[in-house]
Protein backbone atom coordinates (compact mmCIF):
# COMPACT_ATOMS: atom_id res chain seq x y z
CA UNK A 1 0.00 0.00 0.00
CA UNK A 2 1.33 3.41 -0.94
CA UNK A 3 1.72 6.57 1.11
CA UNK A 4 -0.69 8.27 -1.28
CA UNK A 5 -3.52 5.93 -0.26
CA UNK A 6 -3.17 6.68 3.45
CA UNK A 7 -1.98 10.28 3.74
CA UNK A 8 -4.16 13.21 4.80
CA UNK A 9 -4.42 15.72 2.00
CA UNK A 10 -6.17 18.65 3.67
CA UNK A 11 -3.09 19.75 5.61
CA UNK A 12 -3.06 22.87 7.79
CA UNK A 13 0.22 24.74 7.35
CA UNK A 14 1.87 27.95 8.47
CA UNK A 15 4.60 30.25 7.16
CA UNK A 16 7.83 31.34 8.86
CA UNK A 17 6.68 34.92 9.41
CA UNK A 18 3.23 34.06 10.79
CA UNK A 19 2.86 34.84 14.48
CA UNK A 20 2.85 31.93 16.92
CA UNK A 21 -0.59 33.13 17.98
CA UNK A 22 -1.96 32.58 14.47
CA UNK A 23 -0.20 29.21 14.19
CA UNK A 24 -1.47 28.06 17.62
CA UNK A 25 -4.99 29.08 16.67
CA UNK A 26 -4.73 27.14 13.42
CA UNK A 27 -3.57 24.04 15.32
CA UNK A 28 -6.46 24.32 17.77
CA UNK A 29 -9.00 24.81 15.00
CA UNK A 30 -7.65 21.93 12.93
CA UNK A 31 -7.28 19.71 16.00
CA UNK A 32 -3.66 18.89 15.19
CA UNK A 33 -0.47 18.98 17.21
CA UNK A 34 1.87 19.91 14.41
CA UNK A 35 1.98 22.15 11.32
CA UNK A 36 4.38 21.86 8.40
CA UNK A 37 6.01 25.24 7.83
CA UNK A 38 6.02 26.14 4.12
CA UNK A 39 8.29 28.67 2.45
CA UNK A 40 7.76 32.40 2.81
CA UNK A 41 7.92 32.71 -1.02
CA UNK A 42 4.33 31.43 -1.28
CA UNK A 43 5.25 28.00 -2.59
CA UNK A 44 4.45 24.74 -0.81
CA UNK A 45 8.10 23.92 -0.15
CA UNK A 46 8.49 22.55 3.40
CA UNK A 47 11.09 24.50 5.36
CA UNK A 48 10.36 23.21 8.86
CA UNK A 49 7.89 21.72 11.30
CA UNK A 50 6.11 23.46 14.15
CA UNK A 51 4.79 21.24 16.96
CA UNK A 52 2.64 22.24 19.92
CA UNK A 53 5.70 21.52 22.03
CA UNK A 54 7.72 24.03 20.00
CA UNK A 55 5.04 26.67 20.65
CA UNK A 56 5.04 26.05 24.41
CA UNK A 57 8.82 26.00 24.53
CA UNK A 58 9.12 29.38 22.78
CA UNK A 59 6.35 30.92 24.92
CA UNK A 60 7.99 29.76 28.16
CA UNK A 61 11.47 30.80 27.03
CA UNK A 62 10.56 34.27 25.75
CA UNK A 63 7.77 35.06 28.26
CA UNK A 64 5.93 37.14 25.69
CA UNK A 65 2.45 36.87 24.23
CA UNK A 66 2.09 34.30 21.44
CA UNK A 67 1.08 37.10 19.05
CA UNK A 68 4.49 38.75 19.58
CA UNK A 69 6.49 35.65 18.61
CA UNK A 70 7.14 34.28 15.12
CA UNK A 71 6.88 30.77 13.74
CA UNK A 72 10.45 31.08 12.49
CA UNK A 73 11.79 31.58 16.01
CA UNK A 74 10.04 28.47 17.32
CA UNK A 75 9.99 25.94 14.48
CA UNK A 76 12.31 22.97 14.01
CA UNK A 77 14.06 23.78 10.70
CA UNK A 78 14.11 21.13 7.99
CA UNK A 79 11.87 18.09 7.89
CA UNK A 80 12.07 14.37 7.29
CA UNK A 81 9.72 13.79 4.35
CA UNK A 82 8.41 11.02 2.13
CA UNK A 83 6.95 10.80 -1.37
CA UNK A 84 3.42 9.73 -2.30
CA UNK A 85 4.67 6.81 -4.38
CA UNK A 86 6.68 5.30 -1.54
CA UNK A 87 5.35 2.23 0.24
CA UNK A 88 3.92 2.30 3.74
CA UNK A 89 6.76 0.10 4.96
CA UNK A 90 9.36 2.54 3.61
CA UNK A 91 7.58 5.40 5.36
CA UNK A 92 7.33 3.47 8.63
CA UNK A 93 10.99 2.59 8.41
CA UNK A 94 11.88 6.27 7.97
CA UNK A 95 9.67 7.29 10.91
CA UNK A 96 11.42 4.74 13.09
CA UNK A 97 14.90 5.56 11.87
CA UNK A 98 14.47 9.32 12.32
CA UNK A 99 12.33 9.12 15.43
CA UNK A 100 9.39 11.14 14.07
CA UNK A 101 5.65 10.52 14.26
CA UNK A 102 4.62 12.28 11.08
CA UNK A 103 6.06 12.74 7.63
CA UNK A 104 5.13 15.60 5.32
CA UNK A 105 4.47 14.07 1.89
CA UNK A 106 6.32 15.92 -0.83
CA UNK A 107 5.90 15.61 -4.59
CA UNK A 108 8.38 17.46 -6.82
CA UNK A 109 9.42 19.52 -3.83
CA UNK A 110 5.88 20.64 -2.96
CA UNK A 111 3.82 19.59 0.06
CA UNK A 112 0.89 17.39 -1.02
CA UNK A 113 -0.03 15.64 2.24
CA UNK A 114 0.89 14.47 5.69
CA UNK A 115 1.29 10.90 6.88
CA UNK A 116 0.91 10.36 10.62
CA UNK A 117 0.87 7.25 12.75
CA UNK A 118 -2.78 8.04 13.46
CA UNK A 119 -3.53 7.89 9.70
CA UNK A 120 -1.90 4.48 9.58
CA UNK A 121 -3.71 3.26 12.70
CA UNK A 122 -7.02 4.40 11.20
CA UNK A 123 -6.30 2.45 8.05
CA UNK A 124 -5.51 -0.62 10.12
CA UNK A 125 -8.72 -0.19 12.12
CA UNK A 126 -10.76 0.14 8.95
CA UNK A 127 -8.90 -2.81 7.43
CA UNK A 128 -8.18 -0.51 4.54
CA UNK A 129 -4.43 -0.84 4.54
CA UNK A 130 -4.39 -4.47 3.47
CA UNK A 131 -1.58 -5.08 5.91
CA UNK A 132 0.07 -8.35 6.74
CA UNK A 133 -0.12 -9.15 10.43
CA UNK A 134 3.61 -8.56 11.03
CA UNK A 135 3.24 -5.05 9.59
CA UNK A 136 0.19 -4.39 11.75
CA UNK A 137 2.15 -5.54 14.79
CA UNK A 138 4.97 -3.26 13.75
CA UNK A 139 2.59 -0.31 13.61
CA UNK A 140 1.17 -1.11 17.01
CA UNK A 141 4.66 -1.31 18.45
CA UNK A 142 5.40 2.06 16.87
CA UNK A 143 2.29 3.44 18.55
CA UNK A 144 3.61 2.06 21.81
CA UNK A 145 6.73 4.19 21.51
CA UNK A 146 6.29 6.82 24.12
CA UNK A 147 8.25 9.63 22.65
CA UNK A 148 10.47 10.34 19.71
CA UNK A 149 14.20 10.57 20.28
CA UNK A 150 15.79 13.95 19.39
CA UNK A 151 15.40 14.78 15.75
CA UNK A 152 19.06 14.82 14.87
CA UNK A 153 19.87 15.22 11.24
CA UNK A 154 16.32 16.29 10.43
CA UNK A 155 17.29 17.97 7.20
Amino acid sequence: VSVRALMSTDVATCRPFDSLGDAAERMLRAGVGCLPVVAADGSQRVVGMLSDRDVSLAAARELRELSELSVRSAMTPGAVTCEPSESLSQALERMREKGVRRLPVVDHGQLVGLLSRADIARAVAEKRADLELPDALEICRALATRRSPPREGAA
Partner: protein
Protein backbone atom coordinates in the same frame (compact mmCIF):
# COMPACT_ATOMS: atom_id res chain seq x y z
CA UNK B 1 -5.06 -6.82 32.59
CA UNK B 2 -5.69 -3.86 34.91
CA UNK B 3 -4.43 -0.29 34.73
CA UNK B 4 -2.30 -0.61 37.88
CA UNK B 5 -0.10 -3.16 36.10
CA UNK B 6 0.84 -0.84 33.25
CA UNK B 7 0.58 2.69 34.72
CA UNK B 8 3.45 5.01 35.64
CA UNK B 9 3.49 5.84 39.37
CA UNK B 10 4.16 8.15 41.03
CA UNK B 11 3.19 10.74 38.44
CA UNK B 12 4.67 14.18 37.81
CA UNK B 13 1.97 16.78 38.49
CA UNK B 14 1.43 20.49 39.04
CA UNK B 15 -0.65 22.71 41.32
CA UNK B 16 -3.49 25.04 40.26
CA UNK B 17 -1.67 28.11 41.63
CA UNK B 18 1.53 27.55 39.65
CA UNK B 19 2.12 29.69 36.57
CA UNK B 20 1.84 28.17 33.11
CA UNK B 21 5.51 29.06 32.58
CA UNK B 22 6.41 26.78 35.52
CA UNK B 23 4.10 24.09 34.18
CA UNK B 24 5.68 24.21 30.70
CA UNK B 25 9.19 24.14 32.19
CA UNK B 26 8.30 20.98 34.12
CA UNK B 27 6.69 19.36 31.07
CA UNK B 28 9.77 20.03 28.95
CA UNK B 29 12.18 19.03 31.71
CA UNK B 30 10.43 15.69 32.18
CA UNK B 31 9.71 15.24 28.46
CA UNK B 32 5.93 15.10 29.00
CA UNK B 33 3.16 16.57 26.87
CA UNK B 34 0.61 16.99 29.69
CA UNK B 35 0.38 17.13 33.49
CA UNK B 36 -2.33 16.19 35.99
CA UNK B 37 -3.21 19.06 38.34
CA UNK B 38 -3.59 18.26 42.05
CA UNK B 39 -4.57 20.35 45.09
CA UNK B 40 -2.50 20.66 48.27
CA UNK B 41 -3.77 17.32 49.58
CA UNK B 42 -2.89 15.51 46.35
CA UNK B 43 -6.47 15.26 45.07
CA UNK B 44 -6.91 15.41 41.33
CA UNK B 45 -8.53 18.63 40.13
CA UNK B 46 -7.88 18.20 36.40
CA UNK B 47 -5.15 18.02 33.81
CA UNK B 48 -3.72 20.16 31.05
CA UNK B 49 -1.63 19.76 27.94
CA UNK B 50 -0.18 21.98 25.21
CA UNK B 51 -3.63 22.51 23.71
CA UNK B 52 -5.12 23.85 26.96
CA UNK B 53 -2.05 26.03 27.55
CA UNK B 54 -2.21 27.58 24.07
CA UNK B 55 -5.96 28.18 24.20
CA UNK B 56 -5.59 29.92 27.56
CA UNK B 57 -2.56 31.95 26.48
CA UNK B 58 -4.43 33.16 23.38
CA UNK B 59 -7.53 34.11 25.37
CA UNK B 60 -5.57 35.82 28.16
CA UNK B 61 -3.19 37.61 25.74
CA UNK B 62 -0.54 37.54 28.43
CA UNK B 63 2.85 35.82 28.83
CA UNK B 64 2.77 32.36 30.45
CA UNK B 65 4.37 33.54 33.71
CA UNK B 66 1.32 35.74 34.31
CA UNK B 67 -1.33 33.01 33.92
CA UNK B 68 -2.22 30.52 36.66
CA UNK B 69 -2.55 26.84 35.77
CA UNK B 70 -6.12 26.75 37.15
CA UNK B 71 -7.22 28.94 34.23
CA UNK B 72 -6.11 26.30 31.74
CA UNK B 73 -8.03 23.37 33.24
CA UNK B 74 -10.05 21.64 30.61
CA UNK B 75 -13.84 21.99 30.67
CA UNK B 76 -15.46 19.53 30.98
CA UNK B 77 -12.82 18.09 33.31
CA UNK B 78 -10.13 15.80 31.93
CA UNK B 79 -11.31 12.16 32.21
CA UNK B 80 -9.59 9.75 34.60
CA UNK B 81 -9.71 6.09 35.62
CA UNK B 82 -9.37 3.77 38.63
CA UNK B 83 -6.32 1.52 39.13
CA UNK B 84 -8.51 -1.60 38.92
CA UNK B 85 -10.10 -0.63 35.60
CA UNK B 86 -9.08 -2.96 32.78
CA UNK B 87 -6.78 -1.51 30.11
CA UNK B 88 -9.61 -1.98 27.62
CA UNK B 89 -11.92 0.12 29.82
CA UNK B 90 -9.25 2.83 30.17
CA UNK B 91 -8.75 2.72 26.41
CA UNK B 92 -12.49 3.14 25.85
CA UNK B 93 -12.50 6.24 28.08
CA UNK B 94 -9.58 7.68 26.12
CA UNK B 95 -11.30 7.04 22.84
CA UNK B 96 -14.66 8.44 23.96
CA UNK B 97 -13.07 11.59 25.34
CA UNK B 98 -10.40 12.14 22.71
CA UNK B 99 -7.32 11.93 24.95
CA UNK B 100 -4.34 9.59 24.90
CA UNK B 101 -3.49 9.77 28.61
CA UNK B 102 -5.45 9.43 31.86
CA UNK B 103 -4.74 10.23 35.49
CA UNK B 104 -5.25 7.17 37.70
CA UNK B 105 -7.09 8.07 40.90
CA UNK B 106 -7.32 6.31 44.29
CA UNK B 107 -10.76 5.84 45.93
CA UNK B 108 -10.07 8.91 48.13
CA UNK B 109 -9.63 11.07 45.02
CA UNK B 110 -5.87 11.40 45.28
CA UNK B 111 -3.65 10.95 42.23
CA UNK B 112 -1.97 7.55 42.12
CA UNK B 113 -0.35 7.53 38.69
CA UNK B 114 -0.92 8.05 34.99
CA UNK B 115 -1.63 5.69 32.12
CA UNK B 116 -0.98 6.41 28.45
CA UNK B 117 -2.25 4.79 25.28
CA UNK B 118 1.42 3.90 24.73
CA UNK B 119 1.40 1.87 27.98
CA UNK B 120 -1.67 -0.02 26.79
CA UNK B 121 -0.15 -0.57 23.37
CA UNK B 122 3.04 -1.87 24.95
CA UNK B 123 1.02 -4.23 27.16
CA UNK B 124 -1.10 -5.53 24.27
CA UNK B 125 1.57 -5.68 21.57
CA UNK B 126 4.84 -5.75 23.50
CA UNK B 127 7.82 -8.02 22.87
CA UNK B 128 5.98 -10.91 24.57
CA UNK B 129 3.28 -10.70 21.93
CA UNK B 130 4.02 -13.47 19.48
CA UNK B 131 3.26 -13.70 15.79
CA UNK B 132 2.51 -17.36 16.35
CA UNK B 133 -0.63 -16.52 18.32
CA UNK B 134 -2.33 -14.91 15.34
CA UNK B 135 -5.93 -14.65 16.64
CA UNK B 136 -4.86 -13.00 19.92
CA UNK B 137 -2.54 -10.70 18.06
CA UNK B 138 -5.15 -9.79 15.52
CA UNK B 139 -7.61 -8.82 18.24
CA UNK B 140 -4.93 -6.79 20.06
CA UNK B 141 -4.03 -5.00 16.85
CA UNK B 142 -7.68 -4.22 16.16
CA UNK B 143 -8.25 -2.87 19.66
CA UNK B 144 -5.19 -0.74 19.48
CA UNK B 145 -5.75 0.57 15.99
CA UNK B 146 -9.28 1.60 16.95
CA UNK B 147 -7.94 3.39 20.02
CA UNK B 148 -5.18 5.18 18.17
CA UNK B 149 -7.10 6.31 15.13
Amino acid sequence: LNVDRVMTAPAVSCRPDESLAEVVDRMLERDLSWLPVVDASGRLVGALGHREIHRTALAAARPLDRIEARRALREPAWPWCWPNDTVEAAGAIMRARGVKRLPVVKPDGRLLGVVALADIAAALCGPRCSLRDAPALESAVETLAALAS
